[in-house]
Amino acid sequence: MAKEVVHEFTLDTLGWDPYVTPVDLDSATPQQLEALKVTPSNRKISAYVLVLAQEAEALAERTPLFNDIMYSEGGLSRGGRELGALAASIVNRCVYCASVHANRFIANDKLPEIIEEIYARGVKADLPEKYQAIFDFGVELTANPDKVGVYQFYHLREVGLSDLEILDLIHAVAIFGWANRLMHTLGEPVRGG
């Protein structure tokens, strides 16, 4: 099957083809191998991470930052963080990121209808109260970071989010402001091939 570039949001598992040459593992520097956490038993590294390994010093910091934001103990639920990531990816139209994090949201919260609504109506999705507050905040912080203030804060408080949960949400959205700007600009999502 020929590869096809994907432009619409989907739950399908996608591939990603870079526009920029990835690092070749056989000629990678020791610093790149360290940042990639390459070991003899782990040489399966995605094209995306191999592109980022062009800047090994940055990648070595970014990987633990990303993991802590998405998976740290306590605070905002896993599903809440995935929904924040998805909101950013919808605004920034990172189709690949959206597919991954929509699927993770469904795996966690078992609510595929939330994703159906978001995929159908985008930033205007009509969701149950708590999901609405989290999604709207992700959309607003991504699209208008200079407009976030008292209104957004009270919306999150009204649905019961604690300070720590709000802190986690801010970072889940912000790290996708980062990830979308890499993944959507340095390559494209593909199906098949």
């Binding site: 526009y19 920029v20 040459t21 592109v51 980022l52 062009q54 800047e55 010093e57 940055a58 070595a60 910091e61 970014r62 633990p64 930052l65 802590d68 934001i69 740290s72 605070g75 605004v91 920034n92 139209r93 990172c94 912080l141 991504t142 970071p145 200079d146 976030v148 203030g149 008292v150 957004q152 804060f153 009270y154 300070d163 720590l164 709000i166 802190l167 986690d168 949400l169 801010i170 970072h171 959205v173 912000a174 790290i175 402001g177 980062w178 990830a179 979308n180 700007r181 890499l182 959507h184 600009t185 340095l186 494209e188």
Partner: protein, 164 residues
């Protein structure tokens, strides 16, 4: 260089509620700072000087009206002994003439990916190659744009927590 840029630009003192909240996510806070260091002051700046990185960061902060970060990056730029070109591109309201094609392409890409990342396509990366950037230069630039935009969003969100 500052201990923690976000604490500094938001004026968070050690005893404040928001400072203590951030400390609850110590790894995240630490890696946010080290990521900043890696993007703005890497051990080998290669084809994008420290002054140029600071100037582009100040420009991005201004594009999103992040006054605190724009001030911070202006100061950082000042420490790097900028030439006139760098100072001129640090503010998107200025329209300096006679820039090199390479710098024109870099600025265009910074503005696009900061404000409208959804509109970026393969053709935008091809423009960078055509202007003489190599693979690593393009990833360097993408990383810088991504890090500064992350910082802009974090600062905006934390400002909301600080003030409410």
């Amino acid at each position: 260089m500052a201990n923690d840029v976000i604490d500094e630009v938001l004026g968070l003192s050690q005893g404040s509620d928001l400072f203590r909240l951030r400390v609850q996510r110590a790894e995240l806070k630490h890696r946010t700072q080290t990521s900043y260091q890696a993007a703005l002051k890497p051990s080998d700046p290669r084809n994008l000087s420290y002054a140029m990185r600071a100037a582009l960061a100040a420009r991005m902060a201004r594009l999103w009206n992040s006054r605190e970060l724009a001030e911070h990056y202006d100061q950082l730029l000042g420490q790097e002994a900028p030439d006139g070109v760098e100072s001129a591109i640090s503010d998107p309201k200025l329209r300096p003439e006679g820039l090199t094609a390479r710098l024109e392409a870099i600025i265009r890409h910074v503005d696009l990916v900061t404000l409208r990342p959804k509109d970026a396509t393969r053709a935008d990366i091809e423009r960078l190659y055509a202007a003489g950037l190599d693979d690593r230069d393009i990833v360097t630039l993408a990383n810088l744009i991504a890090l500064v935009n992350y910082q802009i969003l974090v600062t905006a969100g934390l400002r909301m927590l600080r003030d409410n």
